[in-house]
Amino acid sequence: LAADDLKNSITAENMIEEIFRREAGRVLATLIRLLGDFDLAEEARQEAFAAAIEQWPTHGVPANPRAWLIKTGRNKAVDRIRRDIVFRTKIADREFASAAADEVGALDDVDDTFGDDRLRLIFTCCHPALNAEAQIALTLREVCGLSTQAVARAFIVSEETMAQRLVRAKKKIRDAAIPYETPDSSVLDQRIEGVLAVVYGVFTEGYAATVGSDLIDVELCGEAIRLGRLLDALLPHNAAVMGLLALMLLHHARRLSRVSDAGDVVLLDDQDRSRWDQSEIAQGLALVDKSLRVPGQVSPYTVQAAIAALHARAGENEPTDWPQIVGLYEVLLRLQPTPVVELNHAVAVSMVDGAARALNLVDSLAARGKVTEYHLLHAARGRFLHQLGRLAEAREAYRNALNTATLEPERRLLAARLAALQSH
């Protein structure tokens, strides 16, 4: 009998853990709406989970655990607000706290619009009145549920620094009354752009870390894709959302082949295609098609995803469709005329029209003086010059690239290129 009890309690524990994992984000999002305060909501959720661990094993798991957790969390918070009254002396405070407790206690729409609450949370965390770093940090912490320590690691700052950054962001939300709302349709597209920029920021930080010794932070990429899927579920048929999710999936599908066992960069041409994640590629390709079928202006994310799709479709027997890639980069240049897009366009041009024309494009980009510190520009020049047989200049370009590159694996690749040229 004792063994049975033990077995039951273990399965109950697993079940409770599973429920917590599934519901943590939704419970928090709704508690923030009900309580109007991030910290109060986090404490309330913690207390609700503690109460569940105490009560569920003996009383059984409630029929609607999510509603139970939200209701319990809200009641705990109301108790806390009421309890605080005892410790306060000022009458004005007492009236305020009492009114606040009544207000929270009166709210009874615990069991509706959970999806909307998570969307509200995303829009609040990605509000343009918060600085870009705070937006990403807050989203990882509050929407993805990463610990402060994990978010700090992603930003390569101390846990204390990150905790302060999060506190400041939440204080601004409170002090400036940043709303906990899905924005009006008049500004919705613009605000979605901001949210997507945050998700893309999380992904690129994971995909090509800007500092450190590891090339890919798979955890961050995974979080970004999870966010993308959540947005796609909450804002269905949005071309930009689908485009970004497709872009991330198509890049993420190649994660195992992008880095060698020794941690070195493996360029697209040399990658082992059998290690590409075919399921992610299939999802990505389907999303690109769906996104392109949405009427209206095409999203830059979709164009980038379409380029990634052409790379993914190419195989051993099927050459990469470089002319179409050049065409897509020209579309992208019209939507997003940035130096990085120009550089990628030049690399594609080199595959169609040769290195001489590509070198012209890159030199004109460099002459405008915006990107002299960008190591990939020098690396591309080095490659074109090498192809043109101008070896001394190629060496010089690779040396410049090496001087401006910060990521260890990339530095190793550039050093290898340079060494190969020295022996000529």
Partner: protein, 117 residues
């Protein structure tokens, strides 16, 4: 919540405007002010005289020192303000974006603490 909307514009740009342009801008401001009064957002608002008329006061070691103007090297100067009531930051920034000066200057949106009790 109350928000103070601080209108920063380049004074030289404004003083350089022709008669008809200035009239147009003034009309736009009157139109805007009327609209936020009607919508119940308006609490207060004024246009400021140029920084050439400004003085800065500091108290150091118990002595008040008055100096000429604020920092003249900044490109934009505080030219006026509105005190408005809005339900949240999004409503406040939407109102700020409608201030005519937002098109060529910038509007700082500052939430106001409720009065101390």
């Amino acid at each position: 919540m109350n928000y103070l909307l601080l209108v920063y514009t380049n004074e030289a740009e404004i003083t350089g405007l022709g008669q008809s342009e200035l009239k147009k801008l003034t009309d736009e401001y009157m139109e805007f002010t009327k609209s936020i009064v009607q919508a119940g957002h308006f609490k207060a608002g004024d246009r400021l005289k140029p920084v050439t008329a400004a003085s800065t006061v500091r108290v150091r070691n118990g002595k008040a020192i008055t100096t000429d103007g604020p920092f003249a090297e900044t490109r934009e100067q505080l030219g006026g303000y509105y005190l408005i009531e809005a339900k949240n930051l999004d409503e406040a920034t939407a109102i700020a974006a409608r201030i005519p000066g937002a098109r060529f200057g910038s509007i700082e949106v500052r939430p106001v603490w409720p009065p101390m009790t």
